[in-house]
């Protein structure tokens, strides 16, 4: 909300300097988002009197008016207005005046007549006046001030607008000048502002049935204007600087009191109402066109103000168009009420009407204000207004007192403040204490229990006065969950092998998932009902779309090799419940890296495969997840370059594959390897640490052997058979095989292995090695694998 320094001084005279006020508000929990000085534009606008007028020699619709100014100087000004005759006092803005619309006045040449500055209408100065004051024409001033008086002097000088951020609890009591003034009074240790005396309501038969649980206080006051009036200038100016446009006295006065006393008021055009008024729940399907011109269909949750025939207004939220007042309306019914906040808030949300009234009632208001606000309004009408009757239904309920317990407050705050100190803090805010009970002022609907009271003590006493204390008791360093530790280990291992972690949003859409999430076997997605964008309308079931998009976006910006991964939850719908599971997705571009010296060959799918194997070994998952030839493949996978990741039960948990090039066209990537793996619940992984082998002290020996594979066999078939031969040998000493070359020659696929022998006990000699190789050669030969000589 906005208020001004001057406005606050209406409730708290002798207000300290602005920066102290800002500090005080901040300390009380009100965030001052900005301050802005206003009114300088009125510093040069001065009162002048018309002494002569003549027609403009060359324009029918213009006049040349001579005014005498405070200095006695006479100035000739051209005006298009038809009013402002000799003897009238007007507002004259000399050259250099900055206008509300931003332009700066100069000396204008109007059809050959020089016109320094302007004579102004009220609207040009941001005011609204009745016909008597000139209406739309020049503003005719009826005050007694001497010529030369500036408008700024009339308005009381330059003011400062305070732009405040109020949290919902503060909105229940600080959303008005008087509320803020009460907090500042407590902070600056001044007496609390006085509030108007309650209105004494009469017995006009205007109110019928009232839903008291939802409208505990409901009053109507009949008012009429004896003659047209202007909203007081100071009030118009305050309203304008806090962002309210002055419209007409009825609207301005109720607006002002809303922001002044925090009490929303409403006026009905009495001539359009069929009395008596009822306050009731709407009938389901009942219709009402609200002030904003929208026809609304109501439900039984909505509270309405109705006359004998129909709903006139959404209670506490917005009036109806049919009974709205206009600038000409003289006779009105002023409604001042207290509504139960939750119902108002619900109606506001349901109909999406964030009116200032609803934003007050819905957050909680002072029920007493419903009783004194009409008195305040009547006082501003002065002798223009007349009360034609009034009536009140309901009553202001008694507040349940709160049992004071100083020890509990001290314990909660961790302070040693005495009862006397704390109770005097509370008294500053208007809390009364009798014996052991605290009576909460009616304007603090938010305070319900002792912990609320503790917060008030804290606000007044100052958070900075609470001591710093360290938690006592033995401190045992805390632990992470197994799940968190394992997820981190897995992610860290991917980083170690040169992959960058990305974090993408979990929002996606059917279109974005298409092609990356299998449709037939996939589970139901969880839909987001209010996405920010249509492409974010569901929760991801796979990390692949986000990963692939990230790769594409990076490639769109620059040609680069990319190796990225994400380890994050994916979401599925299981019946009526959500299911969250961790998934790993890894991507590696395989196309030619951008030219760079020294040249590096492009990566291959084997790079990703080797990285996966390394990571799984490193983390201890080599037995939890193994790579096998796939039985079924996702549609994105290259059918000839894919492996499945299976768990110990042989269930497929993931896929490692190249992507079909056709899917990559939009990505500016020619070749891409992906891994997607449902890692399950890390807490249940059976981890196996890699064995730590003691290195041998004896030298190893090796033999390089080239084998020619029959067409039906792959590398794994060769290794499997060699391992079979080596089973008995490995009991004696260590034998390892490593692939050192592979090519396709005229005889078929040739694979060269380096077989390394090493013993913990001795240096191995030909005598031990040769028989092993002979056995290998003869057994493999029997299976069609020939040794290339």
């Amino acid at each position: 909300m906005k208020t001004t320094y001057h406005w606050l001084t209406r409730h708290l005279p002798d207000l300290p300097e602005l920066d102290q006020v800002v500090a005080g508000l901040t300390a009380m929990g009100v965030e001052v988002a900005a301050t802005e000085s206003v009114g300088a534009e009125y510093a040069t606008v001065e009162l002048a009197e018309v002494v002569a007028e003549e027609r403009h020699p060359d324009a029918d619709h213009l006049r040349v008016v001579t005014v005498v100014r405070g200095t006695g100087q006479k100035t000739r000004v051209v005006t298009g207005a038809s009013n402002g005759r000799p003897g009238d006092r007007l507002w004259y803005a000399p050259p250099g005046t900055q206008m509300l619309d931003g332009r700066t006045l100069g000396i204008a040449n109007l059809r050959g007549v020089l016109s320094p500055g302007m004579l102004l209408s009220a609207a040009e100065l941001g005011f609204s006046v009745s016909a008597e004051g000139g209406g739309e024409g020049l503003w005719i001033w009826h005050g007694e001030q001497p010529l030369g008086t500036t408008l700024l002097e009339i308005l009381g000088g330059v003011d400062t607008v305070l732009d405040l951020e109020l949290t919902p609890n503060l909105a229940a009591f600080d959303q008005s000048a008087i509320g803020l003034a009460r907090d500042l009074a407590a902070y600056f240790r001044r007496p609390l502002p006085t509030q108007p005396a309650p209105w004494t309501f009469g017995d006009a038969p205007w109110i019928g049935q009232v839903d008291l649980p939802h409208a505990p206080v409901y009053t109507l006051t009949g008012l009429q204007l004896r003659r047209s009036m202007d909203t007081p200038w100071w009030m118009q100016r305050l309203l304008r600087v806090v962002g309210q446009r002055p419209i007409s006295p009825w609207v301005d006065l109720t607006n002002f009191l809303l922001w002044d006393l925090g009490q929303p008021l409403h006026v009905f055009d009495v001539d359009r109402v069929a009395l008596p008024i009822a306050v009731r729940k709407a009938r389901d399907g009942e219709r009402l066109t609200t002030l904003d011109g929208i026809e609304r269909t109501l439900t039984a949750d909505d509270l309405v103000i109705a006359d004998r025939h129909e709903a006139l207004a959404l209670a506490g939220v917005m009036g109806g168009r049919a009974t709205a007042v206009t600038g000409e309306t003289r006779r009105v019914l002023l409604e001042s009420a207290h509504f139960e906040p939750t119902g108002i808030y619900r109606t506001m949300r349901h109909h999406q009407i964030e009116s200032d009234a609803a934003l007050h009632f819905g957050k909680g208001t002072d029920p007493q204000a419903a009783l004194f606000a009409p008195a305040a309004l009547v006082s501003y009408l002065g002798d223009c207004g007349e009360v034609t009757g009034s009536r009140m239904a309901g009553r202001v309920g008694e507040r349940r007192p709160i049992r004071w317990n100083g020890d509990q407050v001290r314990r909660l705050l961790g302070v040693g403040w005495s009862d006397e100190e704390m109770l005097s803090d509370l008294a500053r805010l208007g809390f009364d204490r009798d014996a052991s009970n605290l009576t909460v002022p009616s304007y603090r609907p938010d305070v319900e229990a002792l912990h609320d009271v503790a917060e008030e003590v804290l606000r007044v006493h100052g958070v900075e006065n609470v001591p710093m204390r360290s938690l006592t008791g033995p401190i045992v360093p805390g632990r992470r969950t197994a799940r968190a530790v394992r997820l981190h280990a897995l992610a860290a291992a991917w980083a170690e092998v040169g992959y960058w972690e990305i974090v993408t949003s979990p929002f996606t859409s059917a279109e974005r998932e298409a092609g990356w999430v299998a449709t037939e076997s996939a589970t139901e997605p969880i839909a987001v009902q209010n996405p920010l964008r249509p492409e974010d309308s569901r929760l991801r079931r796979s990390l692949l779309p986000g990963l692939v998009e990230t790769i594409g976006q990076n490639r769109a910006r620059r040609d680069q090799e990319l190796a990225v991964f994400e380890l994050a939850p994916v979401f599925h719908r299981r019946g009526d419940r959500p299911e969250q599971q961790y998934q790993l997705a890894v991507g590696r571009t395989l196309d030619e890296p951008p030219p760079r010296w020294p040249r590096r060959p492009p990566a291959t799918i084997y790079d990703l495969k080797a990285a996966l194997a390394w990571v799984l070994r490193r983390v201890g998952l080599a037995e939890e997840f193994t790579l096998v030839l796939p039985e079924a493949l996702p549609s994105w996978a290259h059918p000839g370059r894919a492996l499945a990741v299976v768990d110990p039960h042989r269930a497929q948990r993931g896929v490692l594959a190249e992507v079909r090039p056709s899917l990559l066209e939009p990505l500016r990537v020619k070749r891409l390897a992906l891994l997607v793996l449902d890692v399950g619940d890390p807490a249940t992984w059976a981890l196996r640490s890699p064995e730590v082998a003691r290195p041998s002290r004896f030298p190893s020996s090796y033999r390089d052997l080239s084998w020619i594979l029959p067409e039906s066999m792959g590398y794994a078939d060769l290794v499997q058979r060699i391992d079979r031969v080596l089973v008995p040998v490995r009991r004696e000493f260590d034998v390892r095989t490593a692939l050192i070359d592979r090519f396709v020659g005229e005889h078929g696929v040739s694979v060269t292995l380096r077989v390394t022998f090493q013993s913990n006990a001795a240096t191995l000699s030909e005598r031990e090695i040769e028989p092993v190789i002979d056995r290998m050669v003869s057994q493999l030969d029997a299976e069609g694998i020939r040794l290339r000589r």
């Binding site: 912990h451 917060e455 990305i502 987001v528």
Partner: protein, 356 residues
């Protein structure tokens, strides 16, 4: 024997004059080869009478040792010269760059999350977890946010097509889950980190961000303990000179509630473009609301607690001095790769180290 008087000098000169390994080898053969002058002379010693033989033998041995010493020194010299000659032909343009090492790293937010977790683990907090698609009960009602309450509007939520569920708007549901799990035991010290979702997006907000929640419940916990904890945390994260400022605020699940500012890490609180007034808003905290304690199975008459919620991205931005929070999740590798090692409060610390 007279020419042998000049042998010592002749040998020394021949060795010194050898310019290459080959030449030096020839000198060695000339003197010590099978038919070398010295070898031959020594072989012929046998013809001499025993008295002379011993005398001459000692002289020859001395000559031979002297030759060998000079020879070794010269050989070493020549080897170095030859290697130098060879190496001068292998000159590289050392101003050329090398290939970039192949490295990967965790996302900066992951790293900062872990760092902040570590600060709390050290203080005796244990990590707890909760789901991202959360029930309305845990995310709102249990936290003292009834359905038609203005506090709900403080966090615009994403709704899902599962009745009673919402994308969690905060890590605070963990408070209730952790309390339920602890079944009323004291003390309780837990943290939880994770992604949360709010339906707003502008230059300072993302629809997804990462929060750390901390909760303490014990018999005699007061706001003073919260204050002490906040200061410790701030100094661990931002350096030992960091100051904190607390302002009353409002969160439905705490009362009293406090907004916490730290002295600006950029200007050390003097005031700059980042902070305006020397303070940076960093987190929200407060004493756990009695209703929340009750909903978690604790009796507010017997136990108090405090809770705090910290935005990890904000901490990351401050520690790294980055200024646009949106870039964090655009996953532009050229951005992610610029984040260096985490040195929380490094500048402060090194300054203190120097002054000591």
């Amino acid at each position: 024997m007279s020419d042998r008087q000049g042998w010592s000098k002749a040998m020394a000169e021949a060795i010194a004059e050898a310019e290459s390994s080959d030449q030096l080898e020839r000198v060695r053969l000339e003197w010590l080869g099978k038919k070398g002058r010295l070898t031959t002379a020594m072989r012929n010693l046998g013809d001499l009478p025993s008295e002379r033989r011993r005398e001459e033998g000692q002289r020859f041995n001395a000559l031979r040792e002297s030759f060998e010493t000079r020879y070794r020194q010269r050989r070493q010299q020549i080897a170095t010269e030859e290697e130098d000659r060879q190496l001068r032909m292998e000159v590289l343009d050392m101003s050329l760059p090398g290939p970039e090492p192949i490295v990967g790293r965790l996302h900066p937010v992951s790293r900062v999350t872990r760092m902040v977790e570590d600060v709390f683990l050290k203080m005796g907090y244990t990590l707890a977890e909760g789901p991202e698609v959360e029930t309305n009960w845990y995310n709102f009602e249990a936290l003292n946010v009834p359905e038609y309450h203005p506090a709900r509007a403080m966090q615009d939520s994403f709704f899902v097509n599962l009745p009673g569920y919402v994308l969690r708007t905060q890590t605070s549901p963990m408070q209730i889950r952790a309390m339920e799990k602890a079944r009323g035991t004291l003390p309780l010290r837990v943290i939880s980190t994770g992604r949360v979702y709010r339906r707003d997006e502008d230059s300072t907000h993302l629809p997804m961000f990462t929060q750390l929640e901390a909760l303490v419940i014990d018999r005699n916990v007061g706001l003073a303990d919260l204050k002490g904890t906040l200061l410790t945390m701030a100094r661990e994260l931002f350096g030992p000179r960091t100051q904190i400022r607390l302002r009353p605020s409002y969160f439905p699940f705490t009362e009293p509630s406090l907004e916490v500012d730290i002295s600006c890490v950029v200007c050390q609180g003097r005031g700059c473009a980042v902070c305006q007034d020397g303070w940076l808003e960093i987190l929200g905290s407060g004493m756990v609301h009695p209703t929340v304690l009750q909903n978690g199975g604790y009796n507010p008459e017997r136990a108090n607690g405090f809770a705090l919620g910290l935005g990890i991205e904000r901490v990351a931005m401050l520690i790294y001095g980055a200024d646009d929070i949106r870039l964090l999740y655009q996953n532009d590798l050229s951005y992610l790769t610029t984040f260096g090692e985490l040195w929380p409060g490094a500048e402060e610390r090194s300054r203190e180290g120097n002054s000591e």
